[in-house]
Amino acid sequence: MTLPLTPSQTVGPFFAIGIGPTIGTHVVAEGSPGAVRISGQVLDGDGQPVRDALVETWQPEGVARSATDDEGQFAVVAIKPSGATTGAPHIDVSVFARGLLTRLVTRLYFPGEVANETDLVLQSLTPEERTTLVAAADGAGLRFDIHLQGTRETVFFDR
């Protein structure tokens, strides 16, 4: 039996009332071993902050989600995935927003990883494209900006 998929629709501008406390911003507790704060800005084609986006991170260790604030900023606390994944360690990221009928999927890679040099996905991209997927060191944490459009448009993947 193959059932037809239910189509996606936009999350719209008012999702904050429905996205409850069930899934929060932390994959692991802040300050626990290996915990890393990942923050970034979601930007539109004019370079303006997207103030009504929902960013979700997904990895074997768990999920986190964060709505962007008035500056388009999101922040989660995650951990570098170990083991099970193929290629270099990475976190799968979903982006939802008003203006997006279907979620966008991208990947966050960790800076300075030797495995990045041989990762099949990263190596299939141009150097400019690759920089959109590798987070930048930002104090004790990581910064991962998401450009929906423009010369620095983030690489997005088919779901």
């Binding site: 039996m1 193959t2 059932l3 037809p4 998929l5 239910t6 189509p7 996606s8 629709q9 936009t10 999350v11 719209g12 501008p13 008012f14 999702f15 904050a16 009332i17 429905g18 996205i19 409850g20 069930t22 899934i23 539109d44 084609g45 004019d46 303006q48 997207v50 979700e56 997904w58 990895q59 074997p60 260790e61 999920v63 995935p81 099970a84 994944t85 193929t86 290629g87 799968d92 979903s94 939802f96 927003a97 203006g99 997006l100 009928l101 279907t102 979620r103 966008l104 099949l120 996905v121 991209l125 929906l148 459009q149 448009e153 983030t154 690489v155 997005f156 993947f157 088919d158 779901r159």
Partner: protein
Amino acid sequence: MAAPAHPPNNTPAYRSSELRAPKRPLRVLPERFPDLSAPLMTGITIGPLDHDLTRQHEGEPLGERITISGAVRDEEGAPVAGALVEVWQANAAGRYAHVSDQHPAPLDPNFSGAGRCLTDDEGRYHFITIKPGAYPWRNHPNAWRPAHVHFSVFSDAFAQRLVTQMYFLGDPLLPLDPLFNAMPDPAVRERLVARWSLELTQPEWSLGYEWDIVVAGRDATPLHDDGKE
């Protein structure tokens, strides 16, 4: 070949997509997405009234009392048990309880418009709420969104993640709505329209709607993509 299920992000009739829909083609990943190593809902508690949007305040909300029930299944027909289903909606007057909603329709002090539940072993969910009102938006002159309930489905498989909207049969605004019509195939659009059910309608109490949700299979890879080339 089956029509693609999901609407293209690049949909000019939906004005907000102009500066937000990526311009470059999506890349295909060579591997499937990882599963979670622990059940998604470990440690998450859902309150006993979280699925009942009519009992979250002192009084009852105004509006037409309805129930919405259905099953979440994957493409192979297997129930998706233990998934988190979250809903949010406007009140009966077409106003969201959100600071950014400026539509001059009354707020209802007895209605927050949000609910959640976990699907049972058969993948079924159930909500009690009131029928949301239509409301204007600024997409084009005299634009009104058809009545709808936002749904978010979160299981422990990344490929199954879905955010969508449920509509009501016979709404005259549906043929004019750029979001509903972003799927070019009418048969695909119809999958977002709930069925009114006499069996689910409770005498002297509430109108019953039924709406099933189908998400990707657990092992869906980016290449197994609803017939899309």
